[in-house]
């Protein structure tokens, strides 16, 4: 199981939808897509890298071969995949506290959805319908979503500053360098690895420690033989 890749957490939630309500849910997503102002609440959750909702009709599971049994499902299903920073509880709670109405609008069509308030039944529902990830990869495990956004701004401002003031007289350079730092004060900051960046990194570290220990044991044994 590997829900973590550095600072990103992968959540997968699968919830059943009554087939005749799946369309209502699709229309709500379509409205949100066409009128992004409805996603303002989601944008405030700056801890999200990427998220998606997928609705599968009860007869829409991929069927690729005559030997594959055809599904005979009573419900359609909604899949929710998100990549976020922080812990599971922080993420779920931030949804509840920031955008409870929007959250309910997306999920209220799911069977036995308890609504996002109160918190405990909502936690139970998500946990019950969550599937663990077997392998998770992030291209930038050292960075959060906010780091990615800040880095884009920093890169653009640094290049712009360099184009204009690289060889400027000292006084001009200092003045605009200070302006640059002032403009970037929310975007600067060191990024460091989390204690466990990924299962792969943890395994590599474990092997490295084991190899060092074995090498030390060999050295001691060789010295004792001398």
């Amino acid at each position: 199981m590997s829900n973590i890749a550095g600072k990103a957490y992968a959540i997968n939630v699968i919830t059943p939808l009554r087939w005749y309500l799946a369309w209502v849910n699709k229309i709500i997503f379509w409205v949100a897509l066409k009128f992004p102002q409805y996603l303002k609440g989601l944008i405030t959750l700056s801890l999200i890298h990427y998220a998606r909702w997928v609705i599968i009709g009860r007869k829409q599971f991929p069927h690729l071969h005559p030997d594959q049994p055809k599904e005979d499902l009573k419900y359609g299903y909604m899949l929710f995949f998100s990549n976020f920073n922080g812990s599971w509880d922080q993420y779920i709670d931030s949804f509840t506290f920031s955008i409870p109405g929007g959250l309910d609008l997306f999920w209220k069509w799911s069977v036995r959805y308890p609504h996002s308030v109160a918190l405990t039944p909502f936690h139970d529902y998500i946990r019950y319908n969550q599937v663990e990830t077997n392998h998770y990869y992030s291209a930038y495990p050292l960075a959060t979503s906010n780091d990615v956004k800040a880095a884009r701004k920093l890169k653009a401002m640094l290049i712009d500053f360099d184009n204009k003031w690289h060889d400027a007289p000292d006084a001009e350079f200092q003045k605009h360098y200070n302006k640059l730092l002032l403009g970037l004060q929310h975007d600067l900051g060191d990024m460091r690895p989390t204690p466990i960046v990924s299962m792969a990194a943890a395994a590599v570290d474990k092997r490295r420690v084991r190899d060092l220990r074995k090498a030390a044991q060999h050295t001691v044994a060789a010295m004792e033989e001398m």
């Binding site: 990427y50 998606r52 036995r112 959805y113 930038y140 880095a151 690895p193 960046v197 792969a200």
Partner: protein
């Protein structure tokens, strides 16, 4: 009605049905799961070699879940808790158990660019890893090259009802260069505080010559990099 695209970012969602079969006494779904778990023990994920991949996840979906806890609907509550409701009615009101007949390999990726070039790039980068996992899926037997792979994946693809991009949709190389610059410039700003202007400018020019902000082929983070560069570490240690 939905869309897999947001700006230049693409949300690919794949459900590949896994064969209901056993090989040497082991279910194909368990073999797939084992192989994916083994990817966790490699130096880095095979997906690090697939160009333009932001984030990717793979898991085996064994079944769907039966909902039996009370929900928030008025009828749910009434049917579950009113002692006056006969047991037969109460049970009939419970959601029906639902089960999949196949297990599915779920593959979800966020990447920069368009679908077909991405999938071709994926095949070119990690075809052996793809074959070792997907060979246990229905319909993959006919896949032998990049074009077959593209066609196969399209058959397994589901459309996102809503795709939300919370960071940005720049090419991965741009993002990794930007993160590298953020790390290095933050350190430069910290270390050069209070320097006389002439010295600051000299060090800044050396800094720019080293980090090459506009050169994507110059120094940058690499895909999947989970430890800081030795240079940065050395500088950090020296600063402490």
């Amino acid at each position: 009605m939905g869309s897999n695209v947001s700006g230049k970012a693409y949300a690919l969602t794949i459900l590949s049905p896994i064969k209901n079969a056993y090989v040497a006494g082991v279910a194909c779904a368990d073999t797939v799961r084992d192989q994916l778990e083994n990817w966790n023990l490699l130096q880095n994920s095979p997906m690090a070699r697939v160009p333009q991949t932001y984030l990717a996840r793979l898991f085996v979906l064994d079944d769907v879940f039966t909902q039996s806890l009370p929900g928030a609907g008025a009828l749910d509550t009434v049917s579950d808790f009113l002692p006056a409701v006969p047991d037969g009615i109460r049970r009939a009101a419970l959601p029906t158990p639902d089960h999949l007949k196949s297990k599915y390999l779920v593959f979800s990726i966020d990447f920069h660019g368009e679908l077909e070039p991405y999938l071709r790039g994926m095949w070119q980068a990690i075809a052996p890893e793809i074959q070792s996992v997907w060979q246990h899926c229905y319909g993959f037997d006919a896949v032998s090259d990049a074009e077959d792979f593209v066609a196969y994946m399209k058959k397994c693809q589901l459309t996102a009802a809503l795709f939300f991009v919370g960071s940005n949709d720049d090419p991965l190389g741009e993002q990794l260069k930007a993160l590298y610059l953020k790390q290095e410039f933050s350190r430069f700003a910290l270390e050069s505080q209070g320097l006389p202007t002439a010295e600051l400018k000299k060090r800044y020019q050396e800094f720019i010559a080293r980090v090459k902000p506009t050169d994507l082929t110059g120094p940058a983070w690499t895909p999947g990099q989970y430890a800081l560069l030795k240079h940065s570490d050395a500088r950090q240690e020296a600063a402490l």
